[in-house]
Symmetry: C2
Subunit: 674 residues, 2 copies
């Protein structure tokens, strides 16, 4: 058990570094009074959202903890509460730092690219290190306290998943309601530019970047990070006869190595001396990946006298990186997919939409094949052909491998919205053109890293869900999940349908919330002419409130669906049908997530490509078509698409946690026919 | 074996009635010279397409027959050729009659609704009766000749599927290339109305209705009709120990009853005395359904002394009918989904598209749950809990039950494009306003029946594919298809992805073909000013040629994909992985088919709803947004969506036919690890 000290130490180390970096960010110059005023609104709005969210969360956590305590065990309930709290703390610290880093990035941009990058990236780093630090420390502690009783530890994953639901789905609705609402009235009706302080929804829009892209993304990857390890620990603990407890501890050792590698990668980015932010971020990411491979191989050899178990780790890491790269190919204007959408815009919005959907659908092919190869290599690489259990364990190790550099991934990803916010603040406080140019440069790099991050989040969600699926099967004693059994087939059908329903609900929510926002902005413009004249400050807080209310209200139905659907199918049709549901849900969920994320990203960049001068540039017929594509793409890439990640993981972890209930009461509809 | 005389007699009876009805249609008055001229162009264009298609088909059939002959058996190759030929003959007769019925419907509309309905419906009836007559006669004959050797009979299904691929996918590309091309230049650029004889693409557009909606739909349902019976015969022939040969013959008896019931239903529609075409068609459909239930129950009791095997038949029939009804709810402007899309159009094309996609995704829920209930009732209703084989046989009987009234369904469905064509001819030959009103009334009923027909085609394709899936599992000796086996999971992932790729390819094909059409129409307008002035006849045949070439050329890649993907996965990863691929493909294929068909139908009707005066009516901002939605919906509902039906059935029947090859050589990649 002494090996378990390592994850604890690494987790704490990450948290200590976090504190130092967070403090260094806060110490930076926050600029002039105007900048501080605007940043204050954003911070206020973000905190208002968190405060409101915590009220809902408190009720939710208490109810679910009670249910778990009654039907399962007190220990699981405790693990659940800790998982939820840790995710909340990570989100709180990450977002708090992000809303302080944005204005300081704008101020640093007055000095140069290098300085601005350093501040923005430091802000993102805090989120990244919080996620892995709290995730690994929490899991390590519970593993020691509960002495590897995985049925308790899974509660930690459910806690993480629950918060991810609120943060990612709620955050996705928040950010797009504000964005679409601000654009429709501000840009289209009133004809004022983006990030104009006269727009009442502009602060909500900036808050949304933090809520959706910092806290939402962080919670999503916290869930994947924790979920992948839980599946590996669960499957590894079954292998004790073969490998002692080492198989259960190995995933956490890998995560520890990942933290060390990420810290080095972060150091490399921060000590960047050049003026190319993309290059610096790439260098950090690549080096941390290589370090994981080197240190991981050593650790694996020391622990098992063989490198066999390391094959899936490398497979996962490589697959994750290639999926990110593929995402870039389909969503960057340097490649032909985006250019095709742009050229199809010349014949209007109809052909723009058709082209974008086709690109999105086509972009599923390579990631799916990569995941398939990853599964194959992971399973057979560890010897799954002679022992199925070790093969499934291999799949879970691939997920752990993919997620080992999570700290780095989240840091790079959370950097984007900070740079985006910095640009908004620069615009609103009328800073020099050169400052805006630097923030724009950082923002444009952020768009690429965001696309890569999205691809990575989907890939890791898929592999995590599949690993949890294997752990679930083990927990309900299924040795086969037979597609010739009609209830399995029914489960697959229903599970496959759920992402479609989930997508429909979240898209409709954005529509509803955005139209409330439109009405509020119109009302403010109408009732006080001074706002558009620039003499009266608009009521920002009212718009923040609308987004907050909508986000938290509109996520209830999808949330209930994600939790109730697996339990209902499990209780009515039994554990095998539920396994089918998970498999079906994972398959269509991943496909929809990739399709929506890439189509959305491609539409966004096709619009920007046209704005850059192609096909007539800004104001042309093609540009108008491009704007339509971007409007459709917004909820695709920032709400419904990312929500799929949560759906598939949440359904799986709910099934895993409630496995004992399914085992005892599942299949009541089938018993009628027996 | 004497029972097998019944299907032969019923099949021949259907064909004899067909001849009489076809002759009666041709005898009707074809109107004035102008009408005959225009109808002549359409007929010519349709025949030009068929002639070209047959050239491609001849090569394809010879190659595939040779492959089958070499790798499987001469008998299977013979059955394949017969299946292909029968589908071709049904398509030829059906389309030939349809292009004669259109102008005669326009002429009959001068007398009244009743008369016009009678001619249009007679035209559709010929397609419907040809499908079931040739399908049942062919299968019955092969069953007798091959003495229930199902490994040969499956070739008949593959033949049917191959033609369906050409007819449905090629037809779908043909019709939308012409439609979009005609609209973009004619309506938008030149500002001339729909169906204007000055538009060079107008004939291609009218030909497209026949190619896509008559021949394409007919071949699709011919494939389902034949495929469902083949699966039931295959599974039933395994049950000989339990039920003698009766279980294998029962599906064909049911089909025979379906033909009789449909003939009565057709008679009821034709003897309609009222002026409400919708009511007449509904009455015919309902009565034929009820008759199948009554006669079928009697037949089942006589054959098996029990009504147990009749439970799935009723389940299939009822599920099929409700799915059709649900389709109507999501795509008719009388319900709130379409009205929501229309009201969202007020804020522009972006929100129109988002709303339409959300409606499409949401509309998958009820059909999937219905299919799930159908599977459950069919499996457990026949006693699948004690004998899995009989349960799977039950699922195939549900498919047969759903398809028993195919003659009626196809007749009602093929009536739509005939009425649509009649309207076009009336417009182009400047007939009275009243005539056009009558054809419009028939056409609008046709839109509803088309939507219902699409829902039915998807539902039946799903159930047929699942039944064939069970037959495939039996053919490759799989007793379980285990989702915990990684290759099965890989198969499910790849299979799930294929409909996305297929959808992307077909959507891109429509885009490419439509832009060729746009260029040709522009060229004609530019090079001869007399065309737009109405003094010079445009070159219709050039546009027909472009659609024809594009349709046949663009379907090669999707076609190869549908055939090569299952074989590749089967050979590399084995029979169980291939089973996973089929299951994954069926699930996402059905979901995408429903989503695309219903979103497309809803967009279409939302546009029409606005044109009817809502939200500002024709020419308003909302209307422009509605037109964009309709443009996106066109390839959704008429090309990519329906192509999914073909994809899932074709992949399954290819697997079933090549089961012996998979059994012998499958899984070469796995053998490396053994």
């Amino acid at each position: 058990m002494e090996l378990l000290i390592i994850p604890l130490i690494c987790g704490i180390a990450a948290l200590i570094v976090t504190i130092f970096i967070a403090k260094s960010v806060v110490k930076k110059d926050a600029g002039n009074e105007k900048m501080r005023e605007i940043a204050g609104y954003i911070e206020e709005g973000a905190m208002a959202f968190l405060k409101k969210e915590y009220k809902y969360l408190a009720i939710f956590i208490v109810i679910v903890a009670l249910i778990i305590g009654v039907f399962l065990s007190i220990q699981t309930a405790v693990a659940f509460v800790i998982g939820a709290l840790f995710s909340i703390i990570a989100g709180y610290i990450g977002m708090r730092t992000a809303v302080k880093a944005n204005v300081r990035t704008a101020q640093a941009a007055k000095t140069g690219v290098k300085e601005a990058l350093s501040v923005a990236f430091s802000g993102g780093t805090v989120m990244g290190l919080c996620v892995v630090g709290l995730g690994l420390f929490g899991l390590g502690t519970l593993t020691i306290v509960f002495d590897l009783h995985t049925e308790y530890i899974t509660g930690f994953g459910l806690g993480a998943s629950s918060i991810a639901l609120f943060a990612r789905v709620g955050g996705g609705i928040y950010t797009k309601a504000a964005d679409v609402g601000a654009d429709l009235v501000g840009k289209v009706e009133a004809g004022i530019p983006e990030d104009d302080p006269r727009n009442p929804a502009v602060i909500a829009d900036n808050v949304g970047d933090n809520v959706g892209d910092v806290a939402g993304m962080g919670a999503d990857l916290f869930e994947s990070y924790v979920g992948s390890m839980i599946s590996a620990i669960t499957l590894g603990s079954v292998l004790t006869a073969v490998a002692g407890r080492d198989a259960a501890i190995f995933p956490m050792i890998l995560a520890s190595i990942g933290i060390i590698a990420s810290l080095i990668g972060i150091f490399i980015v921060k000590s960047n001396k050049g003026d190319n932010p993309q290059k610096a971020l790439n260098a950090g990411t690549t080096i941390s990946g290589i370090l994981v491979i080197i240190f991981g191989a050593v650790a694996c050899y020391v622990m098992f006298d063989s490198l066999k178990l390391f094959i899936p780790v490398v497979a996962g890491l490589v697959v994750g990186m290639i999926i990110g790269k593929v995402t870039e190919v389909y969503t960057s204007s340097e490649y032909k997919s985006v250019q095709l959408i742009a050229s199809e815009s010349e014949t209007g919005p109809g052909t723009n939409i058709i082209a974008g959907l086709a690109v999105g659908m086509k972009s599923t092919v390579i990631p799916i094949l990569l995941i398939a190869v990853g599964i194959f290599v992971a399973y057979y690489g560890v010897g799954g052909n002679s022992d199925a259990m070790i093969g499934l364990y291999g799949i879970s190790l691939a997920a752990v491998g993919m997620l080992s550099t999570t700290a780095m991934t989240v840091a790079v990803d959370a950097y984007g919205p900070i740079a985006d916010n910095a640009g908004g603040i620069a615009e609103m406080s009328h800073l020099d053109e050169e400052v805006r140019e630097i923030t724009d440069k950082l923002d444009s790099v952020g768009n690429t890293t965001a696309a890569i991050g999205k691809g990575f989040a989907i890939g890791s969600a898929a592999l995590t869900a599949l690993a949890l699926f294997a752990a679930y099967a083990q927990a309900v004693n299924l040795t086969t999940i037979d597609l010739l059994n009609p209830v399995t087939l029914i489960g697959v059908l229903i599970g496959g349908m759920l992402p479609f329903l989930f997508g429909a609900l979240t898209m409709a929510s954005v529509g509803k919330a955005a139209s409330q926002m439109v009405q509020e902005v119109r009302r403010q413009f109408r009732e006080d002419k001074g706002i558009l004249a620039g003499t009266v400050k608009p009521d920002y807080s009212k718009c923040v409130e609308i987004s907050t209310e909508a986000a938290l209200h509109e996520m209830i139905l999808p949330g209930i669906l994600a939790i109730a659907a697996p339990l209902t199918v499990g209780i009515l049709l039994g554990g095998e049908a539920l396994a089918g549901l998970i498999a079906g849900g994972v398959v269509t969920g991943v496909l929809m997530a990739i399709m929506m994320a890439n189509a959305g990203g491609a539409w966004d960049n096709a619009k920007k490509y046209i704005e850059g001068g192609a096909h007539g540039g800004k104001g042309s017929y093609a540009h108008k078509a491009g704007v339509v594509g971007d409007t459709v793409g917004d909820p695709f890439k920032d709400t419904s698409g990312p929500s799929m990640n949560i759906l598939i993981k949440l359904m799986t972890i709910v099934s895993l946690v409630f496995a004992p209930v399914i085992l005892e009461y599942g299949g009541i509809l089938l018993n009628i026919f027996k």
